[in-house]
Symmetry: C2
Subunit: 299 residues, 2 copies
């Protein structure tokens, strides 16, 4: 069963202490769709400008990502420039050019409105809601978000959260949204906002799933070589939803395993700039790391 993914499609220019990488393929929908493509056919909804390189369209196509929902608008593609510190734990934004993203309003094809799995990858919550407005009866909807939307579009985000099955966010965002310093205490506050499932990403420390069956602690894959963490959270969400969509049946039966698939995909993402390493990992690569992750926590 296939998966609708809405989010940003971007060009990322990323500086680290060791190198500069201009105009990489980036954006939440790009990372999520490539990660999901190891398991299911992703249908990407997004917008690019006239400057979007043909080689990135080819990359999407090689991953059998359906591009019928990818708008091409006059103007510049969304462009993010950022810089990482030595230990990769802190990044700062050098420049953001919204470009065609500023007036992006997704219009789904009739086929898209009937897809059972929906990933509202990180983008303005008003855009996420607009996608949800057009869906018929999706089986499982997960929303990702970021601190920016907590700061500048909180009412939109709160209104979205009442309509999704699952929310995925990082630890700092969870603390901020719940107003709780302790993550375990933050969880009930987040559930009260709407989502039956809440997934908190903790980077190298793994992730926490909270839902009707209680808590699950998923490990992060132990990485020796952290090159560029940009898109790790998007890749996590994409592989998680791609795996769920590939399994069908009751979501709760596969959700724990789905988090391990998310961890594995995120680890590949971190090992290369942009999508380079993740795009080469494929189903076999992710499945191998999922097996390793299971062994790493087996008593």
């Amino acid at each position: 069963m296939s998966l609708l993914i809405v989010g940003t499609t971007a060009l990322d220019s990323i500086k680290t202490p060791y190198s500069e990488n201009p105009r990489l393929l980036g954006g939440s929908a790009s990372f999520a769709a490539v990660a999901a493509s190891a398991f299911t056919r992703p249908h990407l909804v997004g917008v690019v400008g006239k400057d979007f390189p043909a080689r990135y369209i080819n990359l999407y196509r090689r991953h059998e990502i359906d591009l019928s929902g990818l708008q091409r608008a006059p103007g510049q593609t969304f462009h993010w420039s950022g810089e990482y510190e030595v230990n990769m734990n802190h990044r700062r934004t050098l420049d953001t050019v919204l470009g065609v993203l500023e007036h992006f309003s997704p219009v789904l094809t009739p086929a898209h409105t009937r897809l059972p799995y929906v990933l509202l990858a990180n983008i303005a919550p008003a855009v996420q809601s607009r996608v949800l407005d057009q869906m018929r009866r999706p089986k499982f909807v997960m929303a990702d978000t970021m601190d920016l939307w907590l700061n500048i579009a909180l009412p939109d985000l709160l209104s979205l959260l009442r309509r999704v099955d699952a929310l995925v966010l990082n630890d700092g965002e969870a603390r901020q949204l719940a107003g709780q310093d302790n993550l375990i205490n933050a969880l009930p506050c987040l559930h009260r906002l709407g989502p039956r499932y809440v997934i908190i990403k903790k980077g190298e420390h793994g992730s926490i799933l909270s839902g009707p069956d209680g808590l699950f602690l998923a490990p992060a894959y132990p990485l020796k070589n952290l090159v560029d963490p940009t898109g790790a959270g998007d890749s996590f969400a994409g592989a998680l939803m791609g795996y769920l969509a590939s399994q069908g049946g009751a979501v709760k039966a596969h959700l724990r395993d789905a988090l391990l698939h998310g961890s594995a995909a995120a680890s590949f993402c971190c090992e290369g700039f942009g999508l380079r390493r993740l795009a080469a990992a494929g189903h076999a690569g992710v499945a191998q790391r999922v097996r390793e992750l299971r062994k790493l926590t087996a008593v």
Copy 2:
């Protein structure tokens, strides 16, 4: 089979934003011995001064801790005063009075020298070595340490590490000792210093075991109510070794499970000031949380 524990026996005065708690029972050997007592009979080797309260001797006795190795010396008991910040992640030392610890030189009884399991809880590495010098052929020796010894007694520590089976230390100490920012890369460096097993404690993020069977990632018990983390690492090490000693047989068969027992004991430690909560948990309390920890990571 029983367990020798050498370490500090102290009085701790602990300030948090919410309360002051003067002259609690503390010290690495106290936390470790009480945690281990849920599983085996600990034999405590340490020193106290004339001011050491009788009620703390009674607490040791209630936990059936053998005190034949607890010296009583003229002078003050080692006293540590510290203060925690609101989020409990940072503490600062307000005052340290070494007292009788300054000239402490452990002398083991003949029975102690034949014990199979040895926990060198956190204390000066020269003292840890002096204990090891007196042991006959222990089956499994684990050493704990702290940043202080890395800074002021590194040669002593390095000489000790060549003689132990396992080293337990926290993430910051692991980075410092290995000279590696990435913990996964730090592990081979730490093994090269001697220990076949290395256990890195990451507080609320769990712990990593590295050994001949590869890596194991142990979760921390999810805590809603963090009252006082003092002694959590000592409790972790104590329960881990107490459980190992109770199992007998090949250490490697029980080591992963032993880490979960450490996590469970550490979680009780954090829920009350000093030893209050841990001392009341007992075997049943720890075993219950170990069962919960297993469920939290089961896919």
